[in-house]
């Protein structure tokens, strides 16, 4: 009896979070105020995190909230507030009807692409064979290890290259943002 109840709960939650995510995404693109739009985007990220957790990818769920909702969106809000945008309708960046139709068409095309891709078979080289292993994860032994192990052993070079790329971006951002002392004088 307990298992039936749990699976019912699971199904209910899956559709619940999916629907909230879609509704929030629609509200996100239709709001005029950037602050309201940013908050709906945060809501979308929450629902995605919930869906990740329901797929037993708890680590990715937590990182989703920590990085996107907790850090990146806060910085977005910070900038919006610093520029004092989002008050009144004058500073809306909504385009005219042509722009809306074009955006809708692009969105529909992307949706159709996803639908087609989800139904089609991938070439043999791209599929992950069972023998290559995605070993089942023993949750009691920790959920971080199975991610950290391959990341710091097999794919160490790629990982380090990515971090150097990020470092380069940070240095670049600091250089662009830096006040030029000579110009000020």
């Amino acid at each position: 009896m307990g298992n039936v109840f749990v699976s019912l709960l699971y199904g209910f939650n899956f559709y619940l979070f999916g629907l909230i995510a879609i509704a929030s995404a629609l509200l996100f693109v239709t709001r005029k105020s950037p602050v309201a739009a940013a908050l709906w985007l945060v809501n979308v990220m929450f629902c995605l995190a919930a869906l990740y957790v329901m797929l037993d990818a708890q680590f990715i769920g937590a990182i989703q909230v920590l990085v996107y909702a907790g850090a990146i969106m806060v910085v977005f809000l910070f900038v919006v507030m610093l520029l004092n945008l989002g008050r009144g309708d004058a500073d809306s960046d909504m385009r005219g009807s042509v722009g809306r139709i074009a955006a809708g068409a692009v969105g529909l095309a992307l949706l159709a692409e996803v639908m087609v891709l989800a139904r089609s078979r991938f070439p043999e080289e791209l599929t992950l064979r069972a023998a290559q292993g995605l070993a089942p994860v023993d949750v009691t032994a920790g959920v971080i290890g199975p991610i950290a192990g391959p990341l710091f052993n097999e794919y160490l070079l790629a990982f380090e290259l990515t971090s150097i790329l990020l470092l380069t971006a940070i240095v670049g951002a600091v250089l662009i943002g830096k006040k030029r002392v000579t110009d000020a004088r």
């Binding site: 908050l39 945060v42 769920g61 909230v65 907790g70 507030m81 008050r87």
Partner: protein, 421 residues
């Protein structure tokens, strides 16, 4: 070996769900009561520190002051200033409070409780990602303050919100980095596993003191408590982000502050002071679960957490507020590099000990980590710092600047007095 009875085994799914609901209700109720009384504790302790009596009119020793405050806030008029962004203005106080409360879901507050229907872990949800969940949730705490500041349509409130978001982002990094050392020693991110590791190797505060120090300072900044309460600095910003709030909405921010303090204290205790572990004894950690054990460990956890809360209050009535640039330079130029260097040192120490085949639970591991910690502590506080970095208010550059200004004003005043003669 005696046969295991049902009270020592995990419960059935249905009873597990039921027990979880009961735990949620119990924690929520207790949490609200403790938070309410923490507001009274703040007033009482501040009174004692300033040699006053504090509130003592309502009820015996002023104990019903909390109820009187609550009633007063409910009866007060809710003002809604013109041109506020209404949905967010109303949502913000709730957001500020919620993030502090739901972080409690993963904090273990006692040894498992045996019941006739199965053994119940005294934690609402023992998530395998435990600590990451806490980090994710506490990183959301900033929304309440930022949105309150923005939606109020008041420049002082906006400045408070801006300060708060900058401050929280800055110190969140140092906080996360300081806990990396704890996770390295524990080898797991589940808070239950971290408590178990501290039972085996001794409390983390003894082997990772600098991480505990960074975490504590960052927690003060994250909860917007003195000396880092710049988002509501009343001498500069009226009341900062909650300047426009009144009645129960203001009260929600007030409650949220103490809720945050309580959560930060419970986390600090779980990560560095052994959680519910009773010190100097072994009986509370080994053997079958008993009701006595559960009750005593819960009491121990409460005692430790509340001692930490009292420490927060003590600090508030002891230290003055930082200046904003001091806050930023402390966070970015001192806390963050210190945490990064500390991670490298701790990681290499653990790697070396593991390579030498030292068991993590043995005295050799404890002794080695403890002595490394002692050396680092002496290096940090007596050799590298010498009152310069940790207290930037008394930094050498600042002292020179102050001396220069004083010299300039001295010259001017002597000139002025010369003219008067």
């Amino acid at each position: 070996m005696p046969p295991l009875d049902a009270s020592q085994l995990p419960p059935s799914t249905l009873f597990f769900l039921l027990a979880t609901v009961v735990k949620m209700l119990a924690i929520f109720t207790l949490y609200m009561v403790v938070v309410a009384y923490t507001t009274l504790a703040e007033r009482k302790v501040s009174a004692w520190i300033q040699d006053r009596h504090g509130p003592n009119r309502v009820g015996p020793w002023g104990l019903l002051q909390v109820a009187a405050d609550g009633l007063k806030n409910f009866m007060k008029e809710e003002t809604m200033p013109g041109d506020v962004y209404k949905p967010l203005f109303i949502l913000a106080p709730a957001l500020a409070f919620c993030s502090a409360m739901i972080a409690w879901a993963v904090i273990p507050f006692g040894a498992p409780l045996p019941t006739p229907w199965g053994r119940i872990d005294l934690v609402v949800a023992d998530l395998p990602i435990g600590f990451l969940y806490v980090l994710a949730i506490t990183s959301l705490g900033v929304y309440g303050i930022v949105l309150a500041g923005w939606s109020s349509n008041n420049k002082y409130a906006l400045l408070g919100g801006l300060r708060s978001s900058a401050q929280m982002i800055s110190y969140e990094i140092a906080m996360g980095m300081s806990t990396v050392c704890v996770l390295l020693v524990a080898g797991n991110v589940s808070l239950n596993a971290i408590v178990a590791q501290q039972v085996a190797t001794g409390w983390n505060v003894l082997i990772l003191s600098i991480a505990a120090f960074i975490f504590l300072v960052a927690a003060f900044a994250e909860t917007n408590r003195v000396p880092f309460d710049l988002p509501e600095a009343e001498s500069e910003l009226i009341a900062g982000y909650h300047a426009e709030y009144s009645g129960m909405k203001f009260s929600m921010f007030f409650i949220a502050e103490y809720a945050n303090v309580l959560t930060a204290s419970a986390l600090f205790v779980s990560l560095f002071f052994g959680g519910w572990d009773i010190p100097f004894t072994r009986w509370d950690n080994a053997g079958p679960a008993t009701v006595t054990k559960s009750l005593l460990t819960v009491a121990m956890f409460g005692f430790k957490t509340y001692s930490c809360v009292l420490f927060y209050i003590w600090i508030r009535w002891t230290l003055p507020r930082f200046r904003y640039d001091q806050l930023m330079s402390l966070g970015w130029k001192f806390m963050l590099p210190l945490a990064l260097v500390y991670i490298v040192i701790v990681a290499s120490a653990i790697l070396g000990l593991d390579a030498a085949g030292v068991a993590r639970t043995g005295w050799a591991f404890k002794g080695a980590m403890g002595s490394i910690n002692l050396v680092l502590l002496i290096l940090l506080f007596f050799v590298i710092d010498r009152g310069r970095l940790i207290s930037p208010a008394s930094s050498r550059i600042d002292r020179e600047r102050v001396a220069r200004i004083r010299r300039a004003t001295d010259t001017r005043s002597t000139l002025g007095s010369g003219e008067a003669h």
